[in-house]
């Protein structure tokens, strides 16, 4: 075709960070601690629920129905989705406070500057995207921090899009708070959840959004003019899995208690292992991930191969995949383009992995450690 084919709404959003690293992971047969998916199965009751959903009733094979503030670092799709809708992303950065010598940095140490945040709101601000627990930092926003965001949203009449997919993965006794439960927030908040992250079944692709009908009706309009339905069996399996959990809620037998406990152990194990090669983890309060500071590597090996203008963390990851056989994700991917060069000294590891993956990781790290010795 001679004329331009693609719609203007796609301009600038065609690049995808995941494709490159997933490809490299398989090419170099590396241990994949990059992309965020569990490499262990969903709990038995969830798998059984899905099996049950498939075999019980064959009819389940049929149908069953301005300016956006983005907090950096952000899950990468927030920006292109905003752009595709013709919106303007406005970024505000979580900044790490100072850490004491000898102490590991923590995600709770990464905070928004209240004055800076307030300055981002204007009469043209339509929405703010909040992700808690946060990917990639692992921060669990405290009630006080949420109250600050809430008061600004109310003051400026802004919608809050709360991505809470990791709501059940909170560690060290921290509490997940939903901003929609704060006074004045229910009517202006859309809260997003995920079966994939709740039940370790990312491949089921069932998610949900909760909110007041006055907002939900518009989401339904988009829904009926895009995919219209979600797969029936996946939804039934999620429903039955929740029914199972409802019986155990608040008890030690609950998957929502056991799973974060197990992941906390894995997190601690991985944090310990990675430190042995000079990586400096930021201990996450929640989510599947933690970042590690690679500034030491940046000062010792500043000239890793890569494209002109390629941020350091991307070049570090490629080097790590090729020479150390480990995959992680460069955190600059989760920053707006102008800030990538500033925040290019962190890489993100996923610790929601099976024992066998952790063992494979340890083997690679042993080799790496040996190579460090003079």
């Amino acid at each position: 075709m001679a004329k331009r084919v693609q719609a203007r709404r796609l301009d600038g959003i065609d690049h995808d960070p995941w494709v490159e690293f997933v490809k490299m992971a398989s090419e170099f047969d590396a241990v994949n601690l990059g992309q965020g998916f569990p490499d262990f199965p969903p709990p038995d009751f969830a798998v059984e629920a899905f099996q049950h959903a498939l075999s019980s009733d064959f009819m389940l094979n049929q149908y069953t129905r301005a300016f956006v503030i983005i907090i950096e670092p952000f899950f990468d799709c927030y920006e292109p989705m905003t752009l595709m809708a013709g919106g303007h992303p406005v970024f505000v950065t979580l900044k790490p406070g100072p850490t004491r010598d000898g102490e590991l940095d923590s995600s709770s140490n990464w905070q928004l500057d209240p004055t800076e945040l307030a300055s981002k709101f204007t009469s043209h601000t339509k929405a703010l995207i909040l992700n808690t627990p946060n990917n990639p930092v692992g921060k669990v926003f405290s009630k006080a921090e949420l109250e600050l965001v809430a008061s600004l949203c109310q003051q400026h009449d802004v919608i809050c899009i709360a991505d809470e997919v990791y709501q059940w993965l909170v560690y060290d006794g921290y509490q997940h708070v939903s901003i929609a439960s704060l006074p004045g927030m229910w009517e202006r908040t859309l809260t997003i959840g995920s079966a994939g992250k709740t039940f370790s079944a990312t491949g089921w692709k069932v998610g949900w959004v909760l909110g007041p009908d006055s907002l939900m009706k518009h989401l339904r309009t988009v829904h009926q003019n895009s995919i219209y339905h979600c797969p029936t069996q996946g939804q039934v399996a999620v429903a039955q899995s929740f029914e199972h959990e409802q019986l155990h809620f608040g008890q030690p037998s609950s998957y929502f208690a056991q799973f974060p406990q197990a992941m906390q152990r894995t997190r601690d194990q991985m944090i310990c292992s990675l430190q042995s090669v000079g990586l400096k983890p930021v201990v996450p309060q929640g989510s599947y991930f933690f970042m590690t500071d690679i500034s030491d590597f940046k000062s010792k090996m500043p000239d890793l191969p890569g494209d002109v203008d390629e941020p350091y963390d991307r070049r570090f990851i490629k080097w790590m995949i090729k020479t150390k056989g480990l995959v992680a994700i460069p955190v600059s991917t989760f920053y707006s383009v102008p800030h990538r060069k500033i925040f290019d000294h962190y890489v993100r590891f996923c610790f929601v992995k099976d024992e066998s993956t952790l063992q494979a990781m340890d083997e690679k790290l042993q080799k790496w450690k040996k190579e460090l010795r003079p």
Partner: protein, 455 residues
């Protein structure tokens, strides 16, 4: 349909569960009475909120109603299709994310199948995209390739989402109706409905970005002939226009007819996106898997939309679909192959439904493909007097009356029309015949009773 509804009620318990979490935290303050002026919908969805399916599905949800409305098979999918899914659910890795643009084994199977049909190589990674149903393919195509201010030609009657998706993209639908030319002495057939070539040509201009083609056609059941497709192809090439070809019913073509793919015509591969559906291919509408096939310079834009919307489709369903395809790809000349057995099975049901509608005194249009039949119901002279104040089209009122009084539901054909053409089609009602024998038996009982009342 009823059983699925009952299962779906268990989804309510999930809502209740999540309420448990929130209610313990909500501080009991009333929601603000202040009306927000800023919190309004995006302009792109203005006027798109009503939906015929939602309205009529609700009506037909009454378990005592025989539902010939929504195109929902109540026949069982093939056994091996369900078995594959069962096996796959137990495989750990298949419960996690897969490749965003399509699970590798599925795109490979689709490529293998369609290479035979297109008689050309189809790159599974670059020329195929797996989407959430054919709906998802339509959405990705329209969002990816249609801009604000573009014109898109839509043939009336049309599957209802074409108009709303085009409008949501900020483009203008340009309508052209299929016009009936019944032949005397012959049963009225879907092939008697055609496009006037001059009228069609007059709809094309420099702003025309695409034409949406649906063959076999919903609701009429028309299977476009080679000659008819050539007229469309010539215009697409002359005006450098895209063709979005919705071919979800491609396997459902009856004796004496052949499904022809416009993308196989000279000069058309490079400007056509062809859409298919697992739901319609294997009678598993609830799996919500569809695909777009086309040249990479178009598919890549659909992929961009995909990575900025759903990102991936469900893994276990894609793997099961791939396995099901391999079973049938190996036996495409076999009568046992579902692509051959389903249309045979449906042709019998089609003929039965035609007969039933004729027994009511109706003149149904015999479809050459698809799983719907439309018929002019005005001769039944139904008493719609208690709905006389409603300004809904005749067929909407008729279907509501028929659902309530005869316990038989269908879909009004004017739902498939734009405002200007609704009057042309408002006497027609669409019946779905991909139903099990007991459903058709129940429909037969209703029709017999109706006949008795008439006489």
């Amino acid at each position: 349909m009823f059983l699925a509804q009952r299962r779906l009620c268990s989804l309510e318990s999930r809502a209740k569960f999540l309420k448990t979490i929130y209610s313990s935290k909500i501080l009991g303050l009333p929601t603000s009475a202040k009306m927000s002026l800023k919190i309004t919908n995006a302009k792109r969805i203005e006027g798109l909120d009503s939906n015929v399916w939602i309205e009529f599905t609700k009506l037909a949800a009454d378990p005592s109603v025989v539902n010939l409305g929504q195109g929902l098979p109540d026949i069982s999918p093939p056994v091996y299709v369900k078995e594959e899914l069962s096996k796959i659910a137990a495989i750990d890795s298949l419960n996690q994310y897969t490749r965003g643009f399509g699970h590798p084994s599925l795109v490979k199977a689709l490529s293998c199948l369609y290479e035979k049909i297109y008689q050309k190589q189809i790159n599974p990674n670059k020329e195929i995209l797996v989407t959430v149903g054919a709906y998802g393919s339509l959405f990705n195509t329209i969002q990816g390739l249609i801009d604000e201010g573009d014109e898109v030609i839509v043939i009336v009657p049309f599957y209802d989402c074409y108009e709303s998706m085009v409008r949501m993209a900020g483009a203008t639908p340009v309508f052209i109706p299929l016009r009936p030319k019944p032949v005397d002495g012959k049963k009225w057939s879907s092939s008697d409905w055609t496009l006037d070539p001059q009228e069609l040509a007059s709809k094309f201009n420099s702003k025309t970005k695409a034409i949406i083609l649906n063959t076999p056609h919903n609701p009429i059941g028309k299977v476009y002939t080679k000659e008819e497709l050539q007229v469309i192809a010539d215009l697409c090439i002359k005006y450098d226009t895209l063709c979005i070809s919705d071919e979800v019913y491609e396997w459902l073509v009856y004796t004496g007819n052949k499904h022809v793919k416009i993308a196989t015509f000279p000069g058309m591969w490079e400007r056509t996106i062809t859409i298919g559906s697992a739901g319609k291919t294997f009678s598993v509408t609830g799996w919500k898997l569809g695909w777009s096939i086309g040249p990479n310079h178009l598919i890549k834009h659909l992929q961009t939309v995909q990575q900025n919307t759903v990102y991936t489709c469900a893994t276990p369903l894609q793997e099961a679909l791939a396995q099901a395809f391999w079973i049938d790809i190996k036996r495409m000349d076999d009568p046992e192959c579902y692509f051959n057995s389903l249309p045979k099975e449906l042709e019998v049901k089609r003929d039965r439904m035609i007969h039933l509608l004729e027994s009511l005194g109706l003149k149904p249009i015999v479809p050459d493909g698809g799983y719907f039949i439309i018929a002019d119901v005005s001769s039944l002279d139904a008493d719609l007097s208690d709905m006389k104040d409603s300004n809904e089209p005749y067929d909407y009122k008729f279907v509501k009356w028929m659902t309530k009084n005869k316990k038989l539901s269908a879909i009004p054909v004017s739902a498939f029309c734009n405002t200007e053409t609704k009057l042309q089609f408002e006497k027609f009602v669409r019946f779905c015949f991909i139903k099990k024998d007991s459903t058709l038996d129940a429909a037969e009982e209703i029709i017999k009773g109706w006949n008795r009342q008439k006489s």
